[in-house]
Amino acid sequence: MISHWMDREGPVLPRETSAAPLDVVIGVMAFLAALSLGASLVSERTAESWRSGVAGRFTVQIIPPLDGTHALDMQREVESVVALLRATPGIMEAEPLSDADERSLVAPWLGNGALAPDLPLPRLVDATLQPGVRVDLAGLTEKLKTIAPDSVVDDHTRWISRLKRLADAIVWSAYAVLGLIGIATASAVMFATRAGLAAHHEIVALLHQMGARTGFIARAFEWHYFISALVASLAGAGLAAAFFVAAGGLEQAGLEPVAFLPPLGMHPSELAWLAVVPACTALIALTTARLSVMAALRQIY
C-alpha cells in the first residue's frame, strides 16, 4: 500500500507536457511494427495451412492428346491410373476429380461461364498417402507411363518449396522492418532524452551537485520515457490489432478487404503476440533513455 507520505514524495522531474510529438512518433512506429508482426504471423500460418493441405498428397495429371480425340481413351487411362494407385502400397486413397471440380479449378481464370465442351482439360487424379509412409514416386511415375503415356506426377514439392521461400521472405522482411522500427524508435527517444536533458539542465545539474548518483538521475528519465513509450505504443499496437480484427470480420462477412492477399484475420493467440510490440518499444525507450542520460552525465564534472 502506498502510504500517505509516499504520495507526498514528488517526482524528481516535472511531468512533461511537451512530449506529444514523441508520443505520436512512437505510436505510429508501434502501429507499423504491429502490422509487420501481424503480417508475418498471418503469412506463416497461411503458408503452413497451404503446406499441410498439400503435404502427403500428390496429383497425377493426364494431359489430353493434342489431336483432341480419344476422350474415351482418356477415361480409360484415368481408370487405369486410379486402379494402379489404389493397388500401390502406401497410397491410402486415389480419386479422380469430377468434371465439375476441374471446371471450378479453372473458373478463377476462365470465368464461370459455360466452357466449350471440346476444350481439352487435363484429367486429374488426387492421391493421398498413408501418414508417415514414403512411396517411390519415381518408380510409380515409370509404371504410370506404361499405362498412361500422357500422365505427369506432381508431388507439390516445387510448390511447397516456393511457398516456403515466399513465407520466409515475408517473415524475414517483417523482422527487418521491426529492426528498423526499433532503431528509429531508439533514435527518437535518444533525441527526446537529449532535449529533455537540455530542458531540465538546471534540475539535473542540481541533483548532480547534491550527490545524486548517475543511476538516480537516469532512473528519473528512463521511467518517464518508459511510461510515455508504453502508453503510445499500446495505442499504436491496439490500432493495428483493431485493423486485423476488422479485416477478419470483413472476411467472415464474405468480403475481401485486400485483394489477392491471404486472409488477414488473426486468431486470438496471434493477436496476443502483438503485445510484444509495446513491451519491446517501452524497453527500447527505457534503455535508450538510460544510456543517453548516463552518457550526458559523464560529460559533467
Binding site: W5, R8, E9, P14, M210, Y301
Partner: protein
C-alpha cells in the same frame, strides 16, 4: 579553535576538512578568477568568506562543492585528493556537503517539503524515515505551515529558508553558504545564523560567503578575505 590557516608548509593532518594548495581557476581562455589560492579549513571550524563583488567568492565556493575542477593546483577534501579521486566516488563526497546557493536553486515543481527532503532521498532514506526531520526543520525556520507550498508561491526570504533547510537537513560534514541571509530580515537572519552555529556545534564545518559585516562582527567566527582572486587575509575564530 583555529578555523582557517595558511598552510605554510604544513603537512596534511587528519582534522583538516579542506585544503587548497596553489589553486588557480579560469573560465575558458579568460583571465584567472582565482590565483594561487592556498588555505585550509579545519574540521569543526566556522569561517566567513568575504570580499568585494567579483573577487571570486562564488568561484571559490564552486571549487569547494565540486561544481568545477580547478585549472591548476591541488584540492584535498575529506582527505581525498580530488585530482586522483575516482569520479564514481564524487557523489558520495558531494552528499557530505550542504550548499546554500545564492539563487537558492529550488526545484519549482516540488513542494517546500520535497525540496528539503531531496538530500535525504538522495541518501537513500524513505519518506517515513525523513518525514519528522523535514517537518521539524521547516517548522524551525518558520515554514511549518507552508510544507506543501511550491517555491513560486513563497517570498524570496521564504525560498531562502527552504534552501537553507535543504542544505542542513542531512547534517552535512561541510556547509557552504553563499549570502544565506541576504533576503531575510534581521530577526530571521539571526535565527538562521543560530541554526548554522548549532550545526557547527554538532560538528559541521561551516563556511559562509557574505558582505554583511555586522553578521561577522556579531560572531566569533573566523574570516577569509578574497581580493582579486587571492586570499589576502585570514582570521581565526575568537575563543
Amino acid at each position: 579553535m583555529a578555523v582557517a590557516a595558511f598552510l605554510a608548509g604544513q603537512s596534511f593532518r587528519s582534522d583538516v576538512m579542506l585544503r587548497f594548495e596553489n589553486v588557480g581557476m579560469r573560465y575558458g581562455t579568460g583571465p584567472e578568477v582565482l590565483r594561487d589560492v592556498t588555505f585550509l579549513l579545519e574540521s569543526g571550524s566556522f569561517t566567513f568568506l568575504t570580499g568585494a563583488s567579483g573577487a571570486g567568492k562564488t568561484t571559490l565556493l564552486k571549487l569547494m562543492f565540486l561544481s568545477e575542477p580547478p585549472t591548476r593546483g591541488l584540492i584535498t577534501l575529506f582527505g581525498n585528493d580530488l585530482a586522483t579521486t575516482r569520479r564514481a566516488d564524487f557523489p558520495a563526497i558531494r552528499r557530505r556537503i550542504g550548499v546554500v546557493f545564492q539563487d537558492f536553486r529550488l526545484l519549482d515543481h516540488l513542494s517546500a517539503f520535497d525540496n528539503v527532503a531531496l538530500p535525504l532521498r538522495l541518501a537513500g532514506r524513505g519518506p517515513d524515515a525523513y518525514r519528522h526531520d523535514v517537518e521539524e526543520l521547516l517548522g524551525w525556520v518558520g515554514l511549518g505551515a507552508r510544507l506543501d507550498a511550491k517555491p513560486a508561491t513563497l517570498s524570496g526570504g521564504e525560498q531562502q529558508r527552504v534552501a537553507i533547510a535543504r542544505a542542513v537537513v542531512a547534517r552535512p560534514d561541510l556547509l557552504l553558504a553563499d549570502e544565506p541571509t541576504g533576503n531575510v530580515d534581521a530577526e530571521i537572519g539571526q535565527r538562521l545564523i543560530r541554526l548554522f552555529g548549532e550545526l557547527n556545534r554538532l560538528g559541521t564545518t561551516v563556511l559562509i560567503a557574505t558582505h554583511d559585516r555586522s553578521l561577522i562582527e556579531r560572531t566569533r567566527a573566523g574570516e577569509m578575505r578574497l581580493v582579486d582572486g587571492r586570499v589576502i587575509e585570514l582570521r581565526t575564530s575568537r575563543p
